[in-house]
């Protein structure tokens, strides 16, 4: 056991090799998050006062939170973010599952080229495609609309999910499906009763990543949507900073509210996700 060997080399080396770096990493990773939380419950006066300890809060307040919901368009942005992310996730997972299944199972000409193309499409940076997409959306009269955002998000999420899912579908043994066919299932029944449940970890991973990708997306809504009522949270709150000089309390409160869904969703299934990511992106 390497753990036992390391312990035997003495306490000092354990402190140097484990506890010192661990503490530094934890401080580094957690301080900004702590700072966001503490700022979110600070009254404006404390944010800019030279007296007192900025690392603590003397008179915690919920005014930033109530102000965020009462005085800004945040509730609308939040609703828009939720609507666009849920819709995009559903659409991309359904479409990608079908596409991935056909790539993993059916033999047809050009299959190799298409699966390569799918991976390419996902990897091409969005910063190259945003202007042509803008002019296409303009032509379709979809700029400044939530529908336009859904369409534009699908252009990078479908390739990603498809590529991720091909691996999972390919890992379902063909023989299991053939048993189903012999027992009298139709092709569709085989897909939904056998293959989909067996590829469930992949589908869950794809769902979570789709949701996260659209929840985080900044460039497309910034470029495609101009009116505040059709904006999503990331772009909406980064515009807040130029309205008033001292609204860091509200911005950080927005950050906390906007991060919560991801933290609540991620933590229980964190292991799943990292496994999925390494299986999909790293292990291949």
């Amino acid at each position: 056991m390497s753990g036992a060997q390391r312990a035997s080399t003495g306490r000092i080396s354990r402190i140097l090799l484990l506890y010192v770096p661990l503490t530094l990493f934890l401080l580094w990773a957690m301080f900004p998050v702590y700072w966001m939380l503490i700022t979110a419950i600070k009254p404006d006066a404390e944010l800019t006062s030279a007296r007192g300890n900025p690392l603590w809060v003397a008179a915690p307040t919920l005014k930033n939170l109530t102000g965020l919901f009462g005085e800004t368009n945040f509730p609308i942005w939040f609703r828009n973010s939720a609507l666009v992310s849920v819709l995009t996730t559903l659409l991309s997972v359904v479409v990608s599952s079908l596409a991935a299944y056909s790539l993993a199972r059916l033999r047809f000409r050009g299959r190799w080229l298409i699966s390569r193309g799918v991976l390419f499409s996902y990897l091409v940076p969005r910063t190259i495609l945003f202007i042509p997409l803008f002019s296409i959306l303009q032509f379709l009269r979809l700029t400044d609309s939530l529908a336009g955002l859904v369409v534009s998000y699908l252009t990078f999420m479908v390739p990603f999910c498809t590529w991720l899912l091909v691996g999972y579908f390919a890992s379902v043994p063909k023989e299991v499906e053939e048993c189903g066919l012999i027992d009298g299932c139709t092709r569709a029944q085989v897909l939904f009763r056998i293959t989909v449940p067996m590829a469930a970890p992949g589908i869950i991973t794809a769902t979570l990543f789709s949701f996260t990708l659209s929840w985080n997306e900044f460039l497309y809504p910034l470029v495609f949507n101009t009116s505040s009522l059709r904006q999503v949270v990331p772009v909406g709150i980064s515009d807040l900073q130029y309205g008033d000089v001292i609204i860091w309390g509200k911005i950080m409160a927005a950050g906390v509210v906007f991060s919560l869904p991801l933290i609540l969703v991620y933590y229980p299934i964190q292991r799943y996700l990292v496994g999925g990511m390494t299986a999909g992106a790293v292990k291949g």
């Binding site: 390497s2 753990g3 090799l17 484990l18 770096p21 661990l22 990493f25 934890l26 580094w28 990773a29 900004p32 998050v33 700072w35 966001m36 700022t39 944010l47 900025p54 079908l98 390569r116 193309g117 799918v118 390419f120 499409s121 990897l123 091409v124 940076p125 969005r126 910063t127 190259i128 495609l129 202007i131 042509p132 997409l133 002019s135 296409i136 303009q138 032509f139 699908l154 479908v158 390739p159 691996g167 985080n216 900044f218 460039l219 470029v223 772009v235 900073q241 860091w248 911005i251 950050g255 906007f258 991060s259 991801l262 991620y266 964190q270 990292v274 390494t278 790293v282 292990k283 291949g284």
Partner: protein, 275 residues
């Protein structure tokens, strides 16, 4: 259906090439073919040259530091200690917080008047006067890169950690019997086993960081005076603040040969890994 998906990207790509050779301004319709005018004009533009070098500096530092720190973090977390699972969850936080939020939090931490970083450094006596972290060229670029490193290190660490867990214990035992020390075990057992993970993660990171936008846009808008512009933020500025879409697309297409090369490399290794 699959054709539609590929079309969703292939068509914009085609449009991109056409636009980059036109004098199109904001507004519908295709206007005026100008050939390679933008491509030929850009290299003599100082801000463009700065954006190109910034982008590669940004990508290089991101890959090197995320990989280095990620490796240190992974080796730390790979040891057995009470609360290891909790520690793993906590170091994952930077990766879970949405990037636009991360950028805003750091913007506030680095604020030159009321930012907490200056406060702590002043209190500790490490600096004599507040530093404008985002106020001067070179420092501003380092500041925004370090935010990107903060955000991306956990992903590297967890990918590497998954790789570390897969290394058979017997290899370490064999190395120890052969008289290898800790450093030698790391160099001759750990690293060779992680080659594949390191290769793929670094290539992906290089591709992603060549296309990064939101951290720089939110924190500096490419300023001060274009000192932190990446290709992406410059392209946005030229296209949507300057209105010259044709030139903007040409800006964004310039690094494409490098990106294409990296994509070919990573797809090659991934497909091989899948088999």
């Amino acid at each position: 259906m699959v054709l539609i998906i590929v079309g969703l990207v292939a068509y914009p790509f085609f449009t991109a090439f056409m636009m980059s050779m036109s004098d199109q301004f904001v507004g519908p319709g295709y206007k005026g073919f100008v050939g390679l005018k933008h491509y030929l004009a850009l290299p003599s533009d100082f801000v463009f040259r700065k954006a190109i070098s910034n982008t590669f500096v940004w990508a290089f530092l991101s890959v090197v530091f995320k990989l280095g720190l990620g490796m240190l973090l992974a080796l730390t977390l790979n040891q057995k200690f009470p609360g290891a699972n909790l520690a793993k969850s906590l170091v994952l936080l930077p990766w879970v917080i949405p990037t636009p939020i991360t950028s805003l939090v750091w913007l506030w931490i680095l604020n030159d008047m009321f930012g907490v970083l200056n406060f702590m450094l002043l209190k500790a006596g490490l600096i004599g006067a507040p530093i404008a972290w985002l106020g001067s060229g070179g420092l501003a670029l380092l500041s925004v890169v370090s935010v990107n490193i903060w955000r991306g290190t956990p992903f590297f660490a967890l990918s590497l950690l998954a790789g570390l867990k897969n290394i058979p214990e017997a290899q370490y035992e064999a190395a120890t019997i052969d008289g290898a020390g800790k450093l030698q075990s790391f160099l001759f057992v750990t690293l060779p086993n992680l080659t594949y993970v390191i290769l793929i993660a670094s290539l992906l990171e290089a591709i992603w960081s060549l296309g990064d936008f939101s951290i720089v846009y939110i924190m500096t808008k490419g300023g001060p005076a274009g000192a932190t512009h990446l290709i992406s933020t410059l392209s946005y500025e030229v296209g949507f603040l300057g209105g010259n879409l044709g030139r903007a697309v040409a800006v964004s297409l310039y690094p494409l040969p490098v990106i294409a090369l990296l994509i070919v490399a990573v797809t090659y290794f991934m497909e091989r890994g899948r088999e």
